[in-house]
Amino acid sequence: MLDSMSPELPFYGAYFPSWLISATLGILGSVLVRSLLIRLGVDQGMPLRTLVYIALACSIALAISAKVFGR
């Protein structure tokens, strides 16, 4: 399994690790969900907003990591 630690995706001549891609997508997804919730008016009444969105970003990132990259 050692080779699974190596950089993953070739991108403009460099290799990017998969966790970096997952994390970025997780953060972007969380921002997207927030703008959606603002439009629906849910965002205003939510308790512990910051934690909720950080948790959301983590779950999206982990889900992508598990589903797309298979680990």
């Binding site: 603002i38 965002d43 205003q44 910051t50 950080i54």
Partner: protein, 789 residues
């Protein structure tokens, strides 16, 4: 800092409503008008505002700047904790130079979490670009030392010029510093692999603290909403205190911050939807209303009936308390009793107000906007029937023809204060008049030689330091070159002041670090203990660095010197080389910068102060050109002017740091301090003035602004003369100590008489064509004209 205000109303009836602010004015008037007799007594204390008020000594000022204020402790422990975390992470991942990473935190972290996250993201995005630029420059130089030197000179000259001539400011210097510093390292190791390795490590050094700063601020940062509320409460408390005790020190301090620093926070609140849209609008209105309230309170006449003063204070306290409990302040009209001596306009205007307030929070955006449009006209309508006679009085009172009659309800300042309280309670604010924007590139960027001179001076100092430490082959003191970039500021006095802060901070920090090396580090055997040591060391530095700007840089230095001494390699280290090299490096840098900035095109502080006053005066002219109904709404302009004037006075306070040959004569210095008070008084008077046509005043103000600007250039030329002539004086007063040693200097009188010559030569010619101004505010305008001459 307590201002004595008892004199003002007696000696100065026409500006009675500005009495509090003009307390310094009257003092300076007496100083300048009585001329030679009082000037010598004012002279020995030089730039101390002692001419104007019993100002604190430098030492007391330092102690005062170290006092806790709301939010200071909170920010301090956050910075220290973050530094400890960065240290731990750097040790774990073996990222070199943890001290520099911590330094970035201390230097960049502000109270506002959103701003910090923005800074962090910005750094992460810009770093690759900067690295690419560096790699390109390094490739261009092809490893030749001569080419590298050339690249340093060109890049730092260009960036310093950009920083000085645009709004980039010190960021230009920081960029120049980074590029020059990396290039000097390349001179030592001009191999491709080493360079790319160094660049990668540099990226990690900067990216690690930025990532941690983003995460930390997400979880533990201060939200801008909370900061704005705290700021509003501080403003209310200061206003109430000024009303109750007459102590306006705090109020002045807050007024001089201006409103501009808080506008990004309002913007972030709105754009990021930290609160619902209606609340965001209220926050924006509160920011302006809070400032308007402070300005109005500071402009209240001293002759105001104590009962009404107390009522206003009581209402402000009530709003302060309500905000503290997280509620909106109660509507004003419910509590405001009828005025004592005048027909009662308050009940007359209260019904519509309450109606608006009752509906205010529930209305949607459009309806509120409609109301806001209606409001100004309605406001006039309320006033008319109830106080026809009172209004006639107030129109007269507003010109301050008769202070006795000014004590009606509708004193413009008192009314503005109550209006501001209304807005705080949820009443819609009148149409906002934004402040004119500062252009990104200074208008005189190409014509004014000062910017190029600054770039050349700083570059020369940096290259000289680099050559010196390369020649004696002591890389350990490379701090000397860094010193040149960070200490270089526009004027000589400011530069010397920063040099003093740097050396004092470095000595204190190195002392703490050396003490830790002797007594603490030998007992450290784990990363946790090292992090605790960093935490406590950074607490000291961060406490100072979160304070007022005149001291904060010393705190950054304390922390940096401490960290560089303590954090060497990956693990505890007990070498004293770093501390020694750092102190020697800073001393060398101090010496070179001091010599260059005092000998080569010295830029006197007076020039900078005059330029600031000129900008404030043209801002005032812009305000005077507005229609009277809109003038009151131009709070942002008034705040910008106040901030400019405050900055002007702040730089004037650095005068003792200037070499004596650059300092103005005591008389012209007193006149400049007087100008501060006059511009502040004019600012309030014009803001509140109901005069429909102030175009004449505006033109006079523009003329005065030109006068101040023109004199700024003239005094810069004078300084060239003075600078070339002085020389023996510099040896006897080495830079940083010049300020502290001057009061004990016995041959002061001789210096003063020497100083008189350039001023005396220029002033008679200017004074001959002085024609007194006529029209509104002529007293202040004439006073300013004398100060400009």
């Amino acid at each position: 800092m307590v201002k004595t205000v008892t004199l003002a109303p007696l000696s100065d009836p026409p500006v009675v409503s500005l009495a509090a602010q003009s307390a310094p004015t009257t003092a300076s008037q007496s100083a300048s008008s009585s001329g030679p007799s009082s000037a010598p007594t004012a002279a020995p204390r030089s730039a101390q505002p002692s001419v104007l008020s019993p100002a604190p000594s430098r030492w007391h000022q330092v102690l005062e700047d170290l006092q806790p204020f709301s939010g200071r402790a909170g920010l301090t422990w956050r910075i220290a904790l973050l530094c400890a975390l960065v240290t731990g992470a750097a040790m774990l991942f073996e990222i070199p130079e943890a001290a520099i990473s911590c330094y970035l935190i201390i230097f960049l972290m502000k109270p506002d979490a959103v701003a910090n996250i923005g800074t962090g993201i910005g750094f992460l995005l810009l770093l690759p670009g900067l690295i690419a630029l560096l790699a390109w420059i390094i490739n261009l130089t092809q490893g030749s030392t001569l080419h590298i030197m050339l690249a340093i000179v060109i890049s730092s000259g260009l960036l310093l010029y950009l920083g000085a001539a645009t709004q980039l400011g010190e960021q230009g210097s920081v960029m120049a510093l980074i590029i020059a510093f990396v290039l000097t390292l390349i001179v030592k190791a001009p191999f491709g692999d080493a360079a790319s390795f160094a660049l990668r490590e540099a990226w990690a050094m900067a990216a690690l603290p930025m990532l941690l700063m983003i995460g930390f601020n997400l979880l533990l940062g201060f939200s801008p909403v909370r900061l704005l509320r705290d700021q509003l409460r501080a403003r209310l408390a200061a206003a109430a205190e000024a009303l109750e005790t007459g102590d306006r020190a705090e109020l002045r301090e807050l007024l001089r911050e201006g409103n501009a620093p808080f506008e990004p926070q309002v913007l972030a609140t709105r754009l990021l939807r930290l609160v619902p849209r209606a609340d965001a609008r209220q926050i924006a209105a509160d920011l302006r209303a809070g400032y308007a309230l402070m300005l109005a309170v500071s402009a209240l006449p001293d002759a105001l009936d104590p009962a009404r003063r107390a009522r206003l204070a009581e209402q402000i306290r009530a709003a302060h308390a309500a905000l503290g409990q997280g509620k909106a302040p109660a509507p004003v009209s419910a509590q405001a009793p009828a005025p004592v001596s005048a027909p009662a306009p308050a009940p007359a205007r209260s019904p519509p107000r309450t109606r608006l307030i009752a509906q205010g929070p529930l209305e949607d955006a459009d309806a509120r906007a409609d109301k806001a449009d209606v409001d100004p006209t309605e406001g006039v309508a309320w006033d008319e029937p109830a106080e026809g006679a009172a209004r006639a009085d107030s129109a007269e009172a507003a010109t301050w023809a008769d202070p006795g009659e000014a004590a009606t309800w509708a004193d413009p300042a008192e009314r503005a204060a109550w209006d501001a309280l209304n807005v705080l309670a949820g009443a819609p604010e009148a149409e906002v008049v934004p402040a004119p924007k500062t252009p990104f590139v200074a208008p005189d960027a190409l014509s004014n030689p000062a910017y190029i001179r600054f770039a050349l001076k700083t570059t020369a100092a940096a290259v000289i330091c680099f050559l010196i430490y390369t020649a004696i082959d002591w890389q350990g003191i490379h701090t000397a070159m860094v010193t040149c970039y960070v200490a270089a500021l526009g004027t000589t006095g400011e530069t010397v002041h920063k040099l003093a802060l740097r050396i004092i901070g470095c000595l204190i920090g190195a002392a703490i670090g050396v003490a830790a090396i002797f007594w603490v580090i030998p007992h450290i055997d784990g990363i946790g203990a090292l992090m605790a040591l960093v935490f406590f060391g950074c607490l000291v530095g961060a406490w100072v660095s979160t304070g007022p700007e005149r001291l904060s840089y010393a705190g950054v230095q304390v922390a940096l010197a401490f960290l560089l001494t303590v954090l060497q390699g990956f693990g505890p280290s007990v070498s004293l080389d770093t501390a020694q090299g750092r102190i020697v490096g800073i001393l060398l840098g101090n010496l070179v910068v001091y010599l260059i900035f005092t000998r080569l095109w010295p830029a006197p502080i007076v020039g900078e102060a005059r330029a600031l006053f000129a900008r404030a005066l043209s801002g005032l002219a812009g305000m005077a050109r507005l229609a009277p109904a809109r003038r009151l709404n131009a709070v942002s302009s008034a705040a910008a002017i106040e901030a400019l004037v405050g900055k002007g006075e702040e730089v004037l306070r650095l005068l003792p740091f200037e070499p004596r040959a650059l300092r103005p004569t005591p008389a012209s210095e007193a006149a400049l301090h007087g100008a501060v008070a006059e511009i502040e008084a004019l600012n309030r008077a014009i803001w509140l003035s109901p005069d429909p046509d102030l175009r004449q005043t505006a033109e006079q103000l523009d003329y005065l602004a030109e006068r101040f600007d023109g004199a700024a250039e003239a005094s810069a030329l004078d300084a060239d003369h003075a600078g070339s002539g002085f020389g023996s004086g510099a040896g006897s007063s080495p830079g940083p100590d010049a300020g502290s040693s001057l009061s004990s200097s016995p041959n002061r009188g001789a210096d003063c008489s020497l100083n008189l010559s350039p001023g005396a030569a220029s002033s008679p010619t200017l004074h001959t064509d002085l024609a007194p101004f006529v029209g509104p505010f002529s007293r202040q305008l004439n006073q300013l004209q004398r100060a400009a001459g």
